[in-house]
């Protein structure tokens, strides 16, 4: 698909003879939804980071304040220092442990319930109203209450993540289950499958790829809630590291910590995406 313009029209617009395959830059790059060469895609992606780094460096030179605009180089040195001398990796470890724990608990509960809600109207009618209601309550608003009720230990962090993930995930999984085409199930019945076989041989596999997608999306949200919880009350973890850095006016460390979270997010995303590709080779690619 490189030619969207009707052939006749394109032929008329061009003088006969030379320059047959050349098209204007505007037409090549600014036709809506038209694909552009891969190396350009790649170059633009890298370019955006270059632009960000350049403007950041320029700003730090102009403002010339380590507090208000630490330079990229300074953030980099702090980051290395954090890892080597400030046991930052242990904070990363604590945060990752909480994320994985809270997320797993939420997922293990949300996926089965969501599937049941998507398939049985009885279950949906019972659970959907309260879940719909609670999901509009921000998980971070529960933090003071949780501290009051259960204190500052690990359970409090896990529950914050659980609140943030569970209610959203349940509804996403419910929608996925609900979208499984009836005909897919009906065919199985007419092929002699029992209701139980239809459930685990057709219904479940039909939902798997999208459920993994939903897990990937909610995993990102989990980080937000965790950091808030850690900033409010934690001895260890990236969030508490950020809070301590603020007390010492170390914006460079804060920025380094935030970038670390971004990188962790990217890694998790890439891992889940790779699992998705390996586990579900049959899924039609929508264009990534």
């Amino acid at each position: 698909m490189s030619e969207r313009v009707p052939v006749t029209q394109a032929a008329l617009a061009r003088p006969p003879g030379g320059q047959r395959r050349r098209r204007g830059l505007l037409r090549t790059y600014l036709t809506p939804k038209q694909a552009i060469p891969r190396r350009i895609v790649f170059g633009l992606g890298i370019g955006s980071f270059v632009v960000i780094l350049a403007s950041w460096s320029l700003a730090s030179v102009l403002i010339n304040s380590d507090l208000f605009a630490p330079s990229p180089a300074r953030v980099w040195t702090s980051w290395v220092d954090m890892i080597l001398h400030r046991s930052f990796l242990s904070d990363v470890g604590w945060s990752s442990f909480r994320i994985i724990g809270g997320f797993l608990i939420a997922a293990v509960m949300a996926v089965p319930l969501g599937l049941l809600m998507g398939s049985f109207e009885v279950v949906r009618s019972f659970f959907q109203p309260p879940i719909n209601f609670i999901r509009y309550m921000p998980a971070s608003a529960f933090i003071p209450l949780l501290i009051l009720l259960i204190g500052l230990d690990e359970n409090e962090k896990l529950i914050v993540i659980w609140i943030g993930v569970f209610f959203q995930l349940v509804l996403m999984v419910m929608d996925i289950a609900h979208r499984v085409p009836d005909e897919m199930l009906n065919v199985a019945y007419t092929l002699g499958a029992s209701r139980w076989k239809v459930f685990y041989k057709v219904f479940l596999p039909a939902t798997f790829p999208e459920v993994v997608d939903a897990l990937r999306i909610t995993m990102g949200w989990a980080w937000t809630y965790l950091i808030v919880a850690e900033i409010v009350s934690a001895e260890r973890g990236i969030g508490s590291f950020i809070l301590v850095s603020e007390r010492y006016l170390r914006s460079d460390r804060i920025i380094a910590a935030i970038i670390t979270i971004g990188i962790l997010g990217l890694i998790t995303d890439a891992v889940i995406a790779a699992i998705h590709r390996r586990a579900f080779p049959y899924v039609e690619k929508v264009h990534a």
Partner: protein, 263 residues
């Protein structure tokens, strides 16, 4: 001997704007080995009729009998093919075809024997290991038909199976299906809104009325078998076509009028 019989089937759906009568007084018998087509204007309840036959919905009144036995729930004796193919994307072509056998607990060597025969018959050679995403629409529907046939059903129910295919592919599929029928002699109930398709494939055509769907006319198709595509151009074909078109046109006009009256 496997016939399917509808006895006074009626289907009504409650809706917010009152009751919708989808089917009314449907009584018909498709004898063993007959290819019966049902045509009618869209929304006349053709598909509902097929779903009733499959046991996927329970009629408000009446019953469906397969060889005299009440067919009130879906079973492997009535195989179904949908317009939307409804293949299982996570299974290879071969495993899609073997699905019914697997459910039944047929041992693997026997499953493989049957599926490879159907793969050859359906001209799917070389695609046994492929996932459905790699197939064209025509190929997907061939897999779906093979999947239904693998189960050796007594009755084959087909709901506009070629409706989503382009005209050329549809012709090829019609020829393939008529060859298959010649070979297996299944009792077939085939729903379509394509008149030529119904004449080309069917032994008998049931023309349905606009909602509530009733059987308005039954037409025997006296074209010789085996059918070949040159018959479509023949004069007998043209006569049959104009008969069906006449009835359907009248019904479609009624449908438009009743829609206007409702508006």
């Amino acid at each position: 001997m496997s016939e399917i019989r509808f006895v006074d089937v009626a289907m009504r759906f409650p809706t917010r704007r009152g009751e919708v009568r989808a089917l009314e007084q449907i009584s018909l018998t498709v004898p063993d080995g007959q290819f019966a087509c049902i045509v009618g204007p869209s929304g006349c309840g053709k598909s509902t009729l097929l779903n009733v036959a499959a046991g996927l919905v329970t009629p408000t009144e009446g019953e469906v009998l397969v060889d005299g036995k009440l067919a009130d729930s879906p079973g492997p004796d009535r195989g179904m093919v949908f317009q939307s193919y409804s293949l299982y994307p996570w299974l290879s072509v071969q495993r899609n075809i073997e699905f019914g056998l697997e459910v039944k607990g047929t041992p693997k060597p026997e499953r493989t024997r049957q599926s490879s025969e159907l793969i050859r018959l359906m001209k799917l050679d070389g695609f046994a290991e492929a996932y459905p995403k790699a197939l064209s629409g025509g190929m997907k529907q061939r897999v779906a038909i093979a999947r239904a046939l693998a189960n050796d059903p007594q009755v084959l129910l087909m709901d506009e199976p070629f409706g989503a295919l382009d005209a050329l592919t549809r012709q090829i599929m019609q020829e393939l299906l008529t060859d298959l029928w010649q070979r297996y002699r299944k009792t077939v109930l085939f729903v379509t809104h394509d008149i030529d398709e119904a004449i080309f494939l069917g032994d008998v055509i049931y023309i349905m009325t606009n909602r509530p769907g009733r059987i308005r006319t039954t037409l025997a198709v006296d074209l010789p078998r085996p059918r070949t595509f040159d018959m479509v151009g023949g004069s007998r074909f043209a006569e049959l076509r104009s008969q069906v078109v006449g009835v359907i046109h009248e019904e479609s006009m009624k449908a438009v009028e009743s829609e206007l009256a409702r508006a």
